[in-house]
Symmetry: D2
């Protein structure tokens, strides 16, 4: 079976998914839609697909699934429309920045028996997948403590930050999902600390750029997250999981692995400087997983519920910083 | 000048300091005292010093300085006695498990213009010293965030735990001191999470074995500490410090650095399995720093105030866990 | 400009190049030829190109360049035919196992002003390219000594070995080319030592499986090559280059970079176990370089002369082992 | 039992051994002799031993063993004298630069049933010992190929080089011994290549500064040695041993193991810059092994025969370079 795709949104992340879909032997990209015709045209030319309107894709008989890469504030509406249209849906995170809106959207997905996958791409990074596999294989025993280090090479534009929902909902949300993915038990409390250390403009925009979070599960397992909008040495993405029998960790990735030694010491190059080059394989893998789930009629993961859970942790972190206390989550 | 030493306490840690003193070209070990004559005799024989009573050492004209390695509950009294006797004092941490008792003790030290160094040996580990040096050299710019991983190879006996003051005052206290040493700014708030994941007996003794802590300074700098009483792979002691211009980290230490590669992968040996082999050089370096400070009449560091500050953070962490909130510290 | 390709040979390596050509935005795969129709059909179906005979490709007006992936003993003939037909030629190494045949072939290429690139793919590995770049950037000063470690995960079938020309012409030839690429000066002498340590059947087939080689240039620069047909831990491919000001090295590559730590130590997974996964990017990069050279009318490298030079070093190594002496090369 | 030592030679290496002897609980340093009274006095003062003449030490009833650290050209004579005097002898390498002189000396040792250990200290480096242990434990199966990288931080004075016997007898000799220690089978042939790349003055003195060597055993096992008198990044001392089941390697050592990351990449400090700091533990371990062998009446290793074998390989390497051929050794 070949899954026939429509792509909604032809921007930066839309291009990434266009490449992933067309590079997958079990998928074909049928059409692309974008508010900017030039953006849609570019993808259509490169991959030999059609340009259509969103309405046309919604109604199309020759399209089985859509990838939603439009602006965040359109996600929930589009999920509802395409769920009602019977299309399988891959939606970039987040579904929405508002928990209630997400819940309403998921209600529609449930009622229409929709198939929805949320784009937490890091679950599909080969290195993090191997971490999870090592846990599942029992190599470290019962998971006890998780440490996630996630630092961006540089802060986004303040304009972006203003629309982002804040660092916890925009950046840490990936780490909340990763913590849930690795802890194997739901988080019941959140303690967060936040500051503006990188750029005062971020503070003026009402956000933070440097945050630390402790998550805890019912049985006491803990995850510690350390985030910064600044890492001069590249895109710092590390995980370590401690268990009763041992520890498994994933190292950082760099474009080339050479080392130069001289009187100043031994120097390896900086890390990747962009999430798209760092997570190239993850993007291809997540679309492959989406396609495979559709083909086999299997459960789709990460689901809308996963998206909601991560957002709830982000909301709790915001409250924890404001109220200087640990916040319980349902 | 040669500094003439008396050693109070000839147990495990007393032996470490006896070796450090006798191996230092600017020091001589004159006498040792211990409640168990056999323990004192053993050190006297090995290093050619005398066995004396504590009273005799207190009164001795041929002794300039003492190293206090007796049980914790005697530390504050001995500091007061030897401060009054005009001896320079190196005291193993902690001064006492009770903040008020420490304050009273330090008052005596101040009144007698005593010289007191507290044994936070990790400040003298060559690798951690190099981390601090890199900061002082401006290699990472302004310090922003510190991550300290500190995991013991195994839990101590529950009997020990009962007398220890609890994990925050016994184990994390080293990390509180290290965080203060690296942050370069006083901590103003503590958020801690704790659980019993390793051994239920530890829980029955009223303590925890797995804890996570976030410290924050006035300007928003953060330190995250992750502690466990279990690390199957050895004594895990890592530090990383993120600054505005870069990051400096100290790797773990292992007794031998070989690697065996085969079909199972590439395997390096476990880490040191004991704090005394891990911190061999640190113990020698701290005594050397104590001696050098005495010789030059220089300020002694870490001081009693440093011991008090770390203990206050431990107390705050205990309260934070109990009250599920961030605790402010003066 | 788009370069229009014909593919000669649809076997294992032919598939690799089909993927590289079709994945390149400046190229199109027009036709494929193979003695086994099923093999050609498979590629035609997957990439939407035609199946043609070699003769038809030779005569085709819609084909600018060919990739030769047929058996080794057909390479020289095909190069001559397609050079006369005016096509740019990418030929898998080696041109031939016989130096005289290579020379005759290159004469035809010269006379017809042909464009010939020889498939020493490792020059296009991003890590080895970065090593070369570091040299070119002057980071290690003048090159003095090169060490190349190249060990296969396992020996090929003895049937293959019998047709291979022997380990020096089949396996070490890559390292001879790499040494030339890095030394920056022609090799003038070869000293080789060889043995059968892995599989006696290889010895019965008249070949070796474990060899060591020293190359030297006129000014005295040295390269040491260590080869084995066995590496239980994966495909071991390392380079280090020592210069007057420092050293640059390229580490091994592994599919996933996790580490599991427990009482047995710290274990990372084995390396890639297959040259095609190890050198995925190198294959794409070399075809891209071929296409770029055609488009710009630039000099093609590595050239037929590079193929010849590496083969001459292999021949000298064979003689060195047989005659137990250093062999001079022109 | 306590072994009573005399030290012959109070220079740089004499001091190292004085420290090793006095730091060993089973040994005592009784006397030191040196042609320069001030040098002997300094050691006598620091360690509380006597200054005596060589003759007095030879005749002394209170001395069981000597450590010979005098100039190379006195070693063979002193070994003969002290062997006749019935003292156990630890002699710094080499016994002599002339094979015949070494043989004559060993004849005297044999006739007098002397106990002689030769100072190939690297066999006692904890990391190299662990490599050997991994082999002995069967972790890599049968040894097949050994790679030894040994590069000095900088060249010695040309005056030293003139007296040194040349790079093969002065520097590579350590690697010849290490190869023998690891191969587990006697070497039967030597192929060497040499050049002057570091300093023309070394060439004028008749020596080389950059050499590559292949050793082979009867069964075909190979060891490759790469030496240079220059390594800007510190004292480069690495070993890897490949066997039928896997590989074991020993990494380089550095004084501190921190890493600084910034826009230029990840930088670790240079290696040790001096053999004495690199091999501190090795020196203590070899004296401990000597003492233990004396106490237990055990066979002493490395023996005079080991010294002779390494020297014979150095001689063969010299001939190999001169005659441009592989040299057989008995």
């Amino acid at each position: 079976m070949t899954v026939r795709f429509g792509l909604l949104g032809a921007g930066r992340i839309g291009k990434v998914h266009a490449k992933a879909v067309t590079g997958n032997p079990d998928a074909v990209l049928v059409a692309v839609a974008d508010a900017f015709p030039a953006a849609a045209d570019a993808i259509a030319r490169q991959y030999g697909c059609e340009v259509r309107t969103i309405e046309a894709i919604e109604a199309a008989k020759d399209i089985d699934a859509v990838v939603i890469c439009t602006p965040t504030d359109t996600h929930a509406d589009l999920i509802e429309r395409f769920s009602r249209a019977g299309k399988a849906i891959f939606c970039e995170k987040p579904i929405d920045l508002d928990v209630e809106r997400v819940k309403a959207c998921m209600k529609v997905v449930d009622e229409t028996k929709g198939k929805l996958m949320v784009g937490f791409n890091r679950r599909f990074d080969p290195h993090f997948m191997a971490v999870r596999q090592a846990i599942d294989d029992g190599r470290i025993g019962d998971v006890e403590m998780v440490t996630i280090t996630s630092r961006d090479p540089g802060a986004p534009l303040v304009d972006y930050i203003k629309r982002s929902g804040g660092i916890f909902r925009d950046m840490t949300i990936h780490d909340f999902d990763m913590a849930r993915f690795l802890l194997g038990e739901e988080v019941v409390s959140v303690s967060a600390t936040a500051a503006v250390l990188v750029d005062p403009e971020i503070g003026k925009a009402g956000d933070y750029d440097s945050v630390s979070v402790i998550l805890q599960t019912k049985s006491g397992k803990q995850a510690v997250i350390s985030n910064s909008r600044r890492a001069t040495y590249g895109y710092d993405q590390r995980i370590e999981v401690h268990g009763s029998k041992g520890m498994v960790s994933a190292e950082n990735q760099r474009p080339v692995s050479i080392e130069v030694a001289n009187g100043d010491g031994y120097t390896r190059p900086p890390l990747h400087d962009f999430f798209m080059t760092r997570y190239t394989e993850a993007y291809a893998n997540e679309i492959a997983a989406f396609i495979a789930a559709i083909e086999k009629g299997a459960t789709i993961s990460p689901s809308g519920a996963d998206g909601l859970a991560a957002l709830a942790l982000a909301d709790a972190a915001v409250t924890s910083v404001e109220e200087k206390r640990q916040i319980s989550v349902a």
